[in-house]
């Protein structure tokens, strides 16, 4: 594999191959109730406690569309810069399985609620646009549990009927890194919108990954394989890497790639054939006669547009312009909505005379380190934005030095303490009285006459020694800037 110009290619003796990837992301709609019933959607509930007669497909039960889920899908469409279709149709996808009570999944086949759109990825070598083919609404199936009993399969219908958005990308992705960036970007946008919590551990976000390879420079697509239901970015990347190499090997051996559906075995790190194109289900899609076509008005869409918050791309632009941040810094702050929220709250609490650069350094440095070590999300930060802002201001106005600030910060973590109080109680206030510092420095120079002479004779390195002595004598509290100034004057 070579990464020349960060291009992801698979190398064999004489040939280089490009990898073409398209994703079908299944994102669970953030909604209290299901797509066509009023049952709850809480994760982790006791099996079969969130199942209505509709979800279990009892005779004579009928689906009724949940308007909130429709709004969520449209909002997501807007966030993906996509065309919103005023008329969409729910179809039945027919197949038999124990955890599919109706014997069909209600989905959207020909006429999805959202059409073409695009998302922008920030890659190390610049921006990349990825096309969105469509977004449609569909029901989730239940869960079959095969490993609780040697004889029987258990079925949990809590998920049955939960609303999913299937977001289909165009085959625009070219590397595992781009897939990583794409999923993160989708998740970021949906979290900003509040339309999907993006929680991959809980299965709120999973993807079918379509992979094909072609000789570098070729314009035609190779035969693709679909890797079903991969539920972490890491596994997606591993699966792509394995699958692309497998396909290249087949081509190199002069063999044909079968269009098929494959599964990724996370333990063996390999993909395995699940079913070939010939065995593919005939889903017998047809419009669900229990549901009328879904029609939304221009006004309905406009009202939702007005409801859209500032999204990551816009926020990034604003952070760069308003706070003079670098593109890199802005990216870090906007990629997760909670980080952006925290940052903006800190900025607001810092008041007029604020040092934003300093705040950014402290968030991405000290705060992130603490969160990492404690395994916390920023929304669970042990230090509130308010106290964090006070700390930054204390550094900015010279009350404490950066070094002391680190000590203060560590004390703040336990119980979100007010840094001002810590500084007062522990007597950590910086010594900035020039007269007191002059006296202190005079004493040091006096005690180290020989070194002072050596310095004057040109041994400039010794300046650091005097700074160190001064800091030590002040218990670390001396204002380092003043120390520097006074030392330069006196030596």
């Amino acid at each position: 594999m070579s990464k020349k110009d960060s291009e992801y290619l698979i190398n064999r003796k004489d040939n280089q191959y490009e990898v073409v990837i398209g994703l079908e992301v299944h994102a669970q709609v953030l909604s209290e109730s299901k797509l066509f019933s009023t049952s709850a959607t809480k994760f982790g509930a006791e099996p079969n406690t969130q199942v209505s007669l509709v979800d279990a497909a009892f005779p004579g039960m009928l689906p009724v569309i949940n308007e909130y889920c429709v709004k969520q899908a449209i909002k997501t469409g807007i966030g993906l810069n996509a065309k919103i279709n005023k008329r969409s149709v729910f179809d039945r996808k027919n197949y038999f399985y124990a955890d599919l009570p109706q014997g069909y999944q209600i989905s959207q086949f020909k006429d999805p609620i959202v059409g073409e759109g695009r998302v922008i990825l920030d890659m190390p070598n610049g921006q990349k646009e990825v096309g969105i083919e469509r977004l449609h609404l569909e029901q989730d199936a239940g869960k079959s549990i095969h490993d609780l009993d040697p004889q029987n399969t258990f079925v949990d219908l809590n998920r049955s009927g939960v609303a999913l958005m299937e977001i289909v990308s165009k085959p625009d992705l070219r590397s595992p890194d781009e897939v990583n960036a794409y999923i993160k970007k989708l998740r970021s946008i949906m979290r900003y919108l509040g339309t999907c919590d993006g929680n991959m551990q809980e299965g709120s976000l999973r993807a079918d990954v379509n992979v094909s390879v072609r000789p570098k420079g070729s314009k035609e697509f190779g035969t693709r394989c679909e890797i079903k239901n991969v539920n972490s970015i890491k596994f997606m990347q591993m699966a792509i890497e394995y699958e692309a190499n497998r396909q290249v090997d087949l081509i190199e051996e002069g063999k044909v790639i079968d269009q098929e559906t494959r599964l990724f075995d996370t333990k063996k790190n390999e993909t395995r054939s699940m079913r070939s194109k010939e065995d593919a289900h005939d889903y017998r899609y047809f419009p669900d006669p229990d549901l009328l076509p879904l029609e939304v008005s221009e006004k309905f869409i406009e009202e939702l547009k007005n409801d859209i918050p500032e999204l990551p791309d816009d926020k990034k632009k604003r952070f760069i312009e308003e706070f003079k941040l670098s593109s890199y810094e802005a990216n870090i702050l906007v990629s997760d909505i909670d980080t952006a929220k925290y940052f903006e709250e800190v900025v607001a609490k810092m008041g007029k005379n604020k040092d934003i650069k300093l705040a950014v350094n402290w968030i991405t440095g000290e705060l992130f380190a603490v969160l990492n070590s404690k395994g916390l999300e920023i929304s669970q930060s042990p230090v509130s934005a308010k106290n964090f802002a006070i700390l930054i201001n204390l550094i900015k106005n010279g009350t404490i030095s950066g070094k002391i600030a680190k000590t203060v910060f560590e004390l703040m973590i336990d119980g979100d303490k007010d840094p001002q109080k810590i500084v007062e109680e522990k007597g950590l206030k910086q010594q900035s009285d020039p007269k007191a510092l002059e006296a202190l420095i005079d004493k040091i120079i006096n005690d180290n006459r020989e070194k002072a002479i050596e310095y004057k004779q040109g041994k400039e390195k010794l300046f650091g020694f005097f700074v160190g002595q001064a800091m030590k004598a002040s218990g670390g509290k001396a204002n380092p800037q003043l120390i520097n100034e006074i030392l330069k004057k006196k030596l």
Partner: protein
Amino acid sequence: MTLHPLWIKQKKFDQKPNFNLKLPGIPMAVKDLFCTKNIKTTAGSKILNNFVPTYESTVTENIWNEGAILLGKLNCDEFAMGSSNETSFFGNVQNPIDKNLVPGGSSGGSASAVAGQLTPVTIGTDTGGSIRQPASFTGIVGLKPTYGSCSRYGIVAFASSLDQAGPMAQNVKDCALLHEVISSYDPKDSTSIDFKRNHYSQELTNNIKGKKIGIPKEYRVDGMPKEIEDLWQKGIQYIKDCGAETIDISLPNTSYALPTYYIVAPAEASSNLARYDGVKYGFRAKGENLIDMYEKTRSEGFGAEVQRRIMIGTYVLSSGYYDAYYLKAQKVRKLIKNDFDEAYKKVDAILTPSTPSSAFKIGEKTNDPVSMYLNDIFTVPVNLAGLPGISIPAGHDSKDYPLGLQIIGKAFDEQNILNIAYAMEEKINFKNKITDWWIK
């Protein structure tokens, strides 16, 4: 001993009757396609042989709310698929006119129960003629309302875009009253329509002077018995006697209705019946594994006619055939609807025979599905167009079997066809020739 809730309801009524309700204390049996809370609901199928719903259909709920008391469940063709009530897992239904006759189907039990006066009125469901054809075969009145008039919630589905519940009664007035009770807007059914409903029984009038009634030439089908043609002519005369006018009209796509129906209805049925898989409720056969269990459950649980329609439906929806069958059928369905729309620019309602023949003998057509399907030739177009249609008894054939006439209305114009039926009923003065064979 705990009393059955129905007994309690009955006792309550006996002690303190409320005659302000529309159906005060009326005992009423209903077709076994309507889910009734805590009472077995089978749809005439082995696969639901042991199924007891925990919920009530909206239509029956409306009936009980008006004071009626459930008398029992009435046999029907399995999943309402049949025109003779011979496909039921629980055996065929006999016609009160003659024990060797079919009552029609699929609401055959409902029709026989009303004709035999075992229940004063009842409800059926009509997907392609399942109310009107048995009404015609048993000499009673049956109304298929406009699609969206009566909620489908809690009715075991056959073909969702065609199914509609409706009243069956001894006379037009009862039919109007029951329709008034069962028709309601229901948010639990996405295809239910919120339109202003009439007080059908109170607004019922026999004054139809000046109404224009269309006579569609395409309903004069090949091989139709002369008796049916004669009945139709008599009907035209009755219309004129009532002071209305008849106009010859054309519904050019009528001949495509039956083939269209036999694509659309099985397609929807094949999907609607997928839920009967032995996993959650109903009959389950033992199997080696999941697939084997499915196959055995559905092979043993469904009867031959249901299996036939599931196979037809599965076939017409298959990739490669979808466009040629299902999609084309949907297009033809639109044309059929357009035919009616065009006709209604000139007329207020349409008069046709209800069926191409009178009731036939039990077993006569069981081995000839196509001839069986032809029974619905006059009723099916009405379902495809989503219109209301009523069958009223209008005479007897040479064997003294009842024959019906059908009045088809504009969408939501039930009041109008009920009025026409009411006016004609007076002129026809039909007497059903019930021999009480089941008592003797």
